[in-house]
């Protein structure tokens, strides 16, 4: 095909793709929000909260909000108001506490005192009685030195009840608030996307896929061989304005997804029909995310297949990540839900899958019958047998660049950015500290969660295990893995999370470093230090440092993507899994016999 024709087709593909992107972005704003009391009835089942919320929202009935920002603000205000009302109603106040103290004999506290102060059948006193028993039970029969110290302790209990119990039982705690805002916004959304979701799927995802394929296909006509031409002249792939723009878009998308899902309801409405078809219920934000994620891996996987024609290793590896994402991460879990079985991704491994041992996950699996027990056993076997055995024979690549979902996205969507990883020694030092710290953190967090699961106590050494796991989820699970992990592709390369953050990668890496057959060997004396290997190493390994001195590359971080070997112009690098013997051999540069006799 003529060069100019190819350019024309490429440009046409780009235009179609950009059209899809623009419609996708525009659809974010293409809705109005109309509040009706029915949506509260659907989502709030507790009678008390239901009535209060409806009362607060009543003035907005029949009013159309043009923007989700004002609509969400209205919801936030109403929810906050309900919480305030409930707090005032149910708080154990000074009068209550003084009553308890006054009725006590010789400053001795007993639960019966509280019961007598909170006697009666009204909602308030029943709640106060029950919650005081739950939170203050440990104080039964305690004697105090003074009124002041007794008051201090009892006030502390009252404060804990206000903080944890009232919003949870009588109002809306932070989790509930987030869910509710999302659900009430989605339910209130009206407009073209709601009316024609399938049309919008076509106009957004459909056009993006078609455009991308049109853009990519002419590549088949080129001669096989890896073309990295102009990567550092292109603003998309060299931290130019296009790259920064793309990174910003991804970062905003992840922030919306994890922290402000109530603003992206229109995108979720769009994929409702798909979700209905697949699992028989409406889409949630993570269905949308899984859908986009899988599409990205598939379309950019096609790009990989074209780009790395002539390198079978790359092609098989790409098919593998495309398959595991589509089947194991996306379809099977959704189908399991449809069959009323526990949601389970058979290829996800703790500690990357950090909530595997959370009480709700464990309970769900334990309640899931034989299949649930099998899933639990499978998950644990992967951790204690799967990882070490597979890494011993094949290196951590069996997971990181063949199976893993994060790795799958990095190897496909992220491939155009692999050259942006930092290769300095300094970066390596930071990497080792940070990634291993996250592993320690994940182990500690999980140990705490299991402690609570077995003992029922949520306090260890002054730490609340729920707070620890919440913090881990917020900072590591969402901020690091998502916002930074993917959002920073165009800024710091496609493996920021895998390199600096993934606790599973750290675990796999420790096995790979100390007990594995995997290594990258160098070919005699053929290296001429060009630097392609280091530049295109997504993990920021300075491959050349080893190659130019004839030393095997054995690094805990190496995910075995094989690109160093693929881009080497002199055939110097080969991923190998021979016997362990000689793996850590002395560096050898062949060709010079000057010291052959002496050394």
């Amino acid at each position: 095909m003529k060069q100019s024709n190819m350019e024309f087709i490429r440009k046409a593909g780009l235009v179609v793709f950009m059209t899809g992107m623009v419609v996708f972005l525009a659809s974010f704003f293409l809705a109005k929000y109309s509040y009706t009391p029915e949506i509260v009835d659907i989502h709030v089942h507790e009678a008390e909260q239901n009535l209060l919320l409806k009362k607060e929202l009543e003035p907005n009935e029949g009013r159309i909000n043009n923007s989700n920002i004002s609509y969400v603000k209205m919801l936030s205000d109403a929810i906050a108001k309900v919480n305030k009302i409930q707090l005032e109603k149910y708080t154990i106040n000074n009068i209550d506490i003084n009553n308890i103290i006054n009725r006590s004999k010789d400053l001795k506290f007993s639960l019966s005192l509280a019961d007598s102060v909170f006697a009666g059948n009204s909602l308030e006193v029943v709640f106060k009685r029950e919650s005081f028993t739950a939170y203050g039970g440990w104080l039964d029969d305690r004697e105090f030195d003074s009124q002041a110290s007794m008051k201090e302790v009892l006030s502390g209990i009252a404060a804990n009840i206000s903080r944890y119990e009232i919003s949870g039982k009588k109002g809306f705690d932070s989790y509930r608030t987030k869910d509710l805002k999302y659900a009430l916004t989605k339910a209130a959304s009206v407009g073209p996307v709601r009316d024609h979701p399938l049309l919008f799927i076509f106009l957004t995802f459909g056009l993006c896929i078609i455009g991308a394929v049109i853009y990519l296909l002419p590549g088949i006509k080129e001669l096989p061989g890896i073309k990295n031409d102009h990567i550092f002249n292109n603003s998309m792939t060299s931290r130019g304005w296009l790259g920064i723009l793309t990174g910003s878009f991804l970062i905003i998308f992840y922030i919306l997804l994890y922290y402000l899902p109530e603003y992206m309801t229109n995108w979720i409405i769009m994929v409702d029909p798909l979700s209905m078809a697949l699992k028989g219920s409406e889409a949630g934000r993570f269905f949308l995310y899984g859908f986009i994620y899988t599409l990205a891996i598939l379309v950019m996987g096609v790009r990989m297949m074209i780009k790395y024609r002539g390198n079978t290793y790359q092609q098989i590896r790409t098919v593998s990540v495309m398959f595991f994402q589509t089947a194991f991460a996306f379809l099977i879990p959704e189908i399991l839900l449809r069959l009323n079985k526990p949601y389970f991704d058979f290829k996800n491994i703790w500690p990357l899958d950090y909530d595997f041992f959370f009480d709700n996950s464990l309970n769900q699996l334990l309640a899931g019958g034989t299949l649930g027990i099998f899933m639990l056993g499978w998950g644990i076997s992967l951790i204690i047998i799967g990882v070490p055995v597979m890494v011993y024979f094949f290196g951590k690549r069996w997971y990181c660049s063949w199976v893993c979902g994060c790795g799958g996205l990095a190897e496909t969507l992220g491939d155009p950015y692999r050259q942006l990883s930092d290769k300095s020694l300094h970066a390596w030092k930071i990497e080792r500290v940070v990634v291993n710290s996250v592993l320690v953190l994940a182990v500690v967090m999980t140990a705490g969660v299991l402690y609570t699961y077995w003992t029922g106590s949520s306090q260890i050494a002054g730490l609340n295990t729920y707070s620890v796991r919440e913090a881990y989820g917020f900072w590591i699970g969402a901020a690091f893995a998502g916002v930074v992990g993917t959002g920073f592709y165009p800024l710091m390369g496609n493996r920021v999370w895998c390199r600096f953050g993934c606790p599973l990668a750290a675990y796999l890496g420790i096995v790979q470093r100390f007990k594995s057959r995997f290594r990258i060997t160098t070919n005699g004396g053929q290296c001429m230090s060009c630097g392609n290997c280091s530049t295109y190493c997504e993990m920021g390994i300075d491959v050349r440092w080893y190659a130019q001195r004839g030393q095997n590359i054995i690094r805990s971080s190496c995910v075995g993507c094989g690109i160093c070997s693929a881009v080497c112009p002199r055939g110097v690098l080969k991923l190998e899994t021979g016997t362990e013997k000689g793996r850590f051999g002395k560096p050898v540069l062949l060709g010079n016999d000057s010291f052959r006799d002496s050394s």
């Binding site: 079978t312 024979f393 055939g571």
Partner: protein, 445 residues
Amino acid sequence: MKQVVIIGNGISGITAARNIRKLSDLEITVISAETDYFFSRTALMYVFMGHMKFEHIKPYEDWFWKKNNINLINAYVNKIDVSEKKLYLSGAGSIEYSILILALGSVTQMFGWPGQDLKGVQGLYSYQDLVLMEENVINVKHAVITGGGLIGVEMAEMLMTRGVHVTFLVREKGYWQNLLPEEESQLVSRHLRSHGVELKLESELEKIIGDENGHVVSVKTNHGEILDCEFVGLTAGVKPNIKLLEETPVETSKGIMVDSYLETSVEDIYAIGDCAEMRMPEKGRISIEAVWYAGRMMGETIAHTVSGHKTAYKPGKWFNSAKFFDIEYQTYGNVGNVLHAGEDKFYWEDASGTRCLKLVFDKETNILKGINVFGLRMRHEVCDRWLRENRTIFYVMEHLKEADFNPEFSSKFDREILDKFNDGGFGTEVVLRKNQSVLSKFLGF
């Protein structure tokens, strides 16, 4: 303390500096006017093509030199005073040396073509050449490259990434035929053409024609053909850079004459790399080996001598590698462009015509003498061992798999190669060794 001064921060000079540092506490200074820091010369093309930025082709981070106590000076050496043991630098005064290592590299070979100094006409060797090429390539639609060696192909590949139409003038009947045998030369020629390079064989540059601004507009070939172009690449090879030694007693011929210890005719002055010319090259080697690997090996060797362990330079079995667009090339041992007396060959080429294997061996003894391989990767260590151990071609055929260095899952050609070999009438039928069972491979028996 002894002051070792090295002129040139290419692979030879830098390897010398690094290895002297490993072996001794001598004071080391490296002087270069080309760049502040060592870079990989062979990778300049990738910077032009946008595969890498210049910083990526520096094999060591900038802090490395200070940490290893190697002084770097960016200056041009104007003059060497051999009797005073002193170097005079451009702008920066002078520097004394106890030991001087000349690692001056090469310069582009010019044959006095009329018009070779016109604007838009250049060679490609140094960092400055790369910068010049960036300027020269602006608005260029047609380029002519003359001289069918490695740099010519690199230049063609570079220019084509900027959408330039390239006409490649080659004096011989096929590309690089003063080094490559006929079949291999044809294979590369075909590949160049498939990429759109206009290869004109048996064509030589007669003169370069310029316009009133002194810029090239066309070239004339020895067939009288006029080729319009805005860029001319002169890539008919390089020669040792010895201008600095013109007024010194250091003996030169084509290069700086050195003995087997790489010492020049003047005591305490050594020469390594492209600029050195061996008085007595090892058997089977030429006197000037302007390749990366030779420079590196000389650098390693001289470091031992300078550090007090006098060591003769003894290169082992010859090897080299290159890449022609998408086709990688490796060579081990000696494969001439024509068979020498008493030699025979085995040649296999795959159906696509982009991969081949050539084995040259002794007709009498069947002992392997050299390997050429295109489009496949072979294991240096194994090829080197076969050559050292004087293995016969039958042994090589039987053990061909051991030399496989291709990425996992690559198409296998050993069956095909062996069939071709057995059909070749070389006497003995070679049977492929049985495949290891998957289980034993897995368990590593």
